[in-house]
Symmetry: C2
Subunit: 416 residues, 2 copies
Amino acid sequence: MTTTSAEDLLGLAAELDAHAPLAGTRDRFVLPEGIVYLDGNSLGALPKAVPPAVADVVEHQWGQRLIRSWNEVDWWGAQTRVGDAVGRLVGAAPGQVVVTDSTSVNLFKAIVGAARLRPGRSVLLTDPDSFPTDLFMAQAAARMAGLEVRLATPAESAGAIRALGPSLAVAAYSQVDYRTGEKWDLAALTEAAHGVGALACWDLCHSAGAMVVDLDASGADLAVGCGYKYLNGGPGAPAYLYVAARHLGDFDQPLTGWQGHARPFAMETTYEPAPGITRARVGTPPLLSLLGLEAALTAYDGVTAEQLRAQSLSLTGTFLEALGALGVDLPPATPRQEERRGSQVSLRHPEAFAVVQALIARGVIGDFREPDIVRLGFAPLYVTHVDAVTAATALRDVLAGRKHERDEFRSRGAVT
Amino acid sequence: MTTTSAEDLLGLAAELDAHAPLAGTRDRFVLPEGIVYLDGNSLGALPKAVPPAVADVVEHQWGQRLIRSWNEVDWWGAQTRVGDAVGRLVGAAPGQVVVTDSTSVNLFKAIVGAARLRPGRSVLLTDPDSFPTDLFMAQAAARMAGLEVRLATPAESAGAIRALGPSLAVAAYSQVDYRTGEKWDLAALTEAAHGVGALACWDLCHSAGAMVVDLDASGADLAVGCGYKYLNGGPGAPAYLYVAARHLGDFDQPLTGWQGHARPFAMETTYEPAPGITRARVGTPPLLSLLGLEAALTAYDGVTAEQLRAQSLSLTGTFLEALGALGVDLPPATPRQEERRGSQVSLRHPEAFAVVQALIARGVIGDFREPDIVRLGFAPLYVTHVDAVTAATALRDVLAGRKHERDEFRSRGAVT
């Protein structure tokens, strides 16, 4: 295998960075010195807009204005206002997204709500390789809503949906697999579900903010996602729930907290859902975290989903090419075809945990996922092509070091 | 009616403040100039410990250390660590309280969990005068858990519990009525529920942090409460859930998110609850808000629940006495007997909304509750006796002004 020098690759990467359409957005983030951060798909980096915004919420809105801020700065409208800002990133027209609760709680609301929109249908179809909370909440929702959970991978889903036919209530899938980074066809799977009269519910945790997510145009029915990965809302930032406008009038969500009521301050004793997506609100939202997310989303100002996708593919492509050029020969779990690739590259290694630790020791932060995955995320707003090549070089060195250690160990073993 | 001058009353109040055992804790808060803040039972004031703590979470823990903070500063353990800090204020030994989600979501978990602890029992008993979300979530939980909701006020509850007997699964009540400020007997109602083999679930939103709440000693089974009223955790701070240790092993909560799993990072496909209260966690918590609450709770350092209760009764007592001395003759909705009084005074007035607005215009912030309640909360950590007298004086002036306006209006009406 011919290899290229790391210096040459870094030079080419610097060229790409200089001409990338999103090059300027990195300046919107605080990034620690000397770190290549490839874990923005687990916790996004800190946008510069956040610290002053959160300080204002704490010191002025809360500290000085106290209870008056509910009206003065419209804390009351924050969940739907920030929802619309998220909507812009996931192809949702205003009035269909609310920021509230965690992804897990929103999944419960979405799946039970879907079952109630499709009474008489008994099956929830989902992916056995889902992120665990998706499976657990699917089981929890199914248990309470009287559904049966059936499993089929996205690749098997079209056949499974046809076979289930009119018994299928809802198909719940992730657009991008959290582990392999494989991107699935949201529009096609949605269409297959609609073909048998069922609904499609999407988890966007690993796609929103890094690619084109076209909920309205794809006809998706429901979707959820978190605020703290590519959306950079900070640790545990509240999650969001999308309900397509055509379902909102009948959306009967199971967690009927007072903030979802039509007249919350009338203090009525029976529940009447608010019109529109407001009915998906539950309790009082954590405003420091929610308004931190609102400030964070300004890092996307002026950026289109198409630009994000182009930058993301350029970054993951550069990384994959650099691995090849540097002679790093690890089997990728992420598809090489662009249309099937999310915004991460996952590589398999039998000692993946140790490899990730060694990368971190060299300043390249990614993460390990069971059982054998080195997972590297490429957040298009702030990761650079130079970062991608630096990470590939570090990985080459880590693997060479591990090989050297193994050889040392074997040769010492032979002596004693 | 004999009246005393406001000056005399203020002098006496200043004396009380100078000798109050909790006088020093007001310095732990930021309070805006010129404001008497009697709405800490809706949104607590800002503790001075919070701004630097939140700035550290945002700028250092998130911004510089990024994903590493989950382990380095134990973000992972925050929900149970802060839970134990709340536990100290509600008479709960460590390991029984978790801070997570909203009060509404925790009520859902508690009531469904209670139903599953008492299979074969069909009734949920609750208060028709509950805060709306308590009623709505009771209805939501009952609908999904197959329970029937029956209503009885706390005063009627002992008879209702006896009549329901073995059909009662759980009695869900608030320790203090959010509207009238009446304090109910947590231990007696709990004992009545236990008398028929049922469980007692308590909403502590309007009691925790302002009085003695003795969950363990009273034998309470489950409890919930918010973090943003007397606990001062900031707008929408996460709520908490208490499950008595004896129930934890069998507590089968309905929202089985990944953070409640026994091994969250093993990425297993079937749910196995973590031991202990950790199983009541659901999704990733909003850490800016959660760690803000943790810092806020340090305002309670060195303060006992008995001191809080003594100060609270002294403040509400001073306010009620000042009203009498100033000749303000509004019917209180709050009981005069100390053992039945929460940490607020609610007064009835046919134009209560306008009265509250006029008080706010004079710098005394309380709130209006439907249909005719002027509600004034006395947070014992930072409200002073001088505040109490100032508020009573302002109320006297507002009512006199309104009477004057009415007389003016009538006399002008007579002229035209």
